[in-house]
Symmetry: C2
Subunit: 356 residues, 2 copies
């Protein structure tokens, strides 16, 4: 069992609630898919080849001159709950957590950088930042990529660019995305229009944990689909130019809602806080829904005395693996719901004072 | 407009939360139906006859040697909201409030006694008490009846007893009832068994405001159906012997629930309190439902710091006419829901301290 206790403290920079347009943009992410030349893609690699890739990449990370210190963790040796813990923290993907075979992840203490080894590709370099900070996220991922490239011979074609296990990543191997909080667009059902507009310009909409996951708590990930035929900077610029329009739309609808249905909206927000402060058992799905409303309330200054970083902390720490880490115990689903409710009550009382 | 401001303070003895078996029995009521000899029943009476009855009874009440001081109010001259106010307080019936023609009510400041004039019968003498105090309620109604009989010649037949507008009241003219709070029996759906058992022994089950009203918030009124061929004391004794069995059943199921599903039950109770403390708009139906759960929580000592009399006060004062009285304004349904939510929040904060 590796020591993850430092992660129990909320250290991730992207959870700070800061960054540009933080009322709507939770976080920005850039990730680069890379493969090691001379080794087959993982879908076709034997156990031995996978192990060889893992060893090579691990050593390269260790030896490289990264400005950011990263620690490497062997996922194959890690318990289920700990891998789940890293998923909840967005440091690895679900697929990576629950795959088989030699694989690992290196990440920085501030969680701005994580390097997944033997996920779908041999390497997935990811940078995560609070707010709308796509360029900064891309630059950091790019810097890590350059540093690793000094040690690793990447699979690269002068015709196609970086070669990847899945052709949808070919070329730049880059996926940039932002996590948006769009409660007003969901309430008014304007969200469908956003989806349609976004799809038209070849952007994808996904849920809270990326590909194949459902949107929940009104959180949506928007990312580029095209990785080929454009430069990294063009891809970033494209997303950077689109997102502010969605942000503006969400803000406008929030104000419209507040003017047209203030009482109904405020009531929804306050009831959400009421349930979070009083419930004795609560599922993670309901927690997400209610925290989404509270987050909206904070940014509309309906609720005061609670910060975005507290809401982010609750979003992350109320998840199953985090609760089990905090409790140092394996918990059944029912037990988790009780522990979750208690944790949320205590955390909110810390910020807002006790309730009778 | 008559002065009802003294009623804004919660003066009704039956709302004290006291009396026997108060965890389950909210209140006990006895009422006697009487008619004046020589006048037709109201269903067949002309406007003039109705007016004459009203004048006669009003004068008799005024002149009688009642130990309890009562004030007479002319319902025909009273505004709609004020009549509704008296209904919410259980001082008059809905039918009485919304009927036409000369009619009135006399009641005592402690609200233990009310005498409805020209309701279904010429007189309806009612006594209301907190808890299971049926004998006391009957004795007080009986005392008023005796005092009035010195002044009024009641319609009486040596064969049938007191003559009443509806044959279901013939004989004693007496209806005794208890208001029960049966949340555990409702949650477990055992309540149907109670209804069946009660009906078998000729008792009736009704809602919060008597005949023809729906049960809400788990409050049920149980009363005798037979008024003929038994003495008043036998009727009271019958109900007095049955009610403790229902009380025992409800208590047993409460404990069973607490043992088998403590978390679920406590969660329901606390969430109800959370919504009441945080909502910005709330209907009277939802208020009743939630207060029912909070009342259960108080009697199971799940919730502390709030008294049964506060819950009763909330039950009564959160009703439409009371809210309008408190606000001194005619309110739309939406406005009432907002005022109700604010009133409930403030009242609970007074007892339990503020929430953030």
């Amino acid at each position: 069992m590796i020591e993850l206790s430092h992660l129990q403290v909320l250290s991730g920079e992207w959870l700070s609630g800061g960054g540009a347009e933080a009322d709507v943009v939770v976080s920005s992410r850039a990730r680069l898919a890379r493969n090691v030349a001379g080794f087959p893609f993982l879908t076709r690699a034997s156990e031995e080849k996978r192990a060889a890739v893992e060893e090579l990449v691990r050593a390269s990370i260790k030896d490289s001159s990264l400005r950011t210190r990263v620690n490497y963790h062997d996922l194959a040796a890690m318990e289920h709950v700990e891998r789940q813990f890293l998923v909840e923290r967005h440091l690895i993907s679900r697929d990576h957590a629950f795959a088989q075979g030699p694989r690992g992840v290196a990440f920085a203490p501030d969680e701005r950088i994580s390097i997944m080894v033997n996920e779908e590709d041999h390497l997935r370099i990811q940078s995560l930042r609070a707010g709308l900070e796509l360029r900064e996220a891309f630059e950091l991922a790019n810097e890590i990529d350059d540093a690793l490239e000094e040690r690793i011979d990447y699979a690269y074609s002068s015709q196609f660019g970086y070669l990847t296990a899945c052709p949808t990543n070919l070329g730049t191997g880059m996926r940039v995305s932002v996590m948006l909080h769009l409660p007003a667009l969901v309430i008014t059902r304007e969200i469908e229009k956003v989806f349609q507009a976004v799809n038209k310009i070849n952007l994808a909409v996904r849920g809270l944990y990326g590909e194949g996951t459902q949107a929940s708590g009104d959180f949506y990930q928007i990312s580029n689909q095209v990785t080929l035929g454009k430069t990294e900077v063009e891809i970033v610029d494209n997303l950077v130019s689109v997102i502010p329009q969605i942000v503006k739309y969400e803000r406008k609808v929030r104000q419209t809602l507040l003017q047209a249905k203030r009482v109904v909206l405020e009531d929804k927000i306050w009831r959400a806080l009421g349930v979070l402060r009083f419930a004795r058992t609560i599922t993670s799905e309901e927690t997400l829904e209610l925290l989404s409303l509270v987050r909206l309330g904070v940014h509309l200054t309906v609720i005061e005395g609670i910060s975005t970083s507290t809401i982010n902390e609750l979003l992350v720490l109320s998840q199953p693996a985090h609760l089990q880490k905090v409790e140092s115990a394996k918990l059944s689903s029912h037990e988790r719901d009780v522990v979750r409710a208690r944790y949320i009550r205590e955390r909110l009382s810390k910020d807002m004072g006790p309730v009778g």
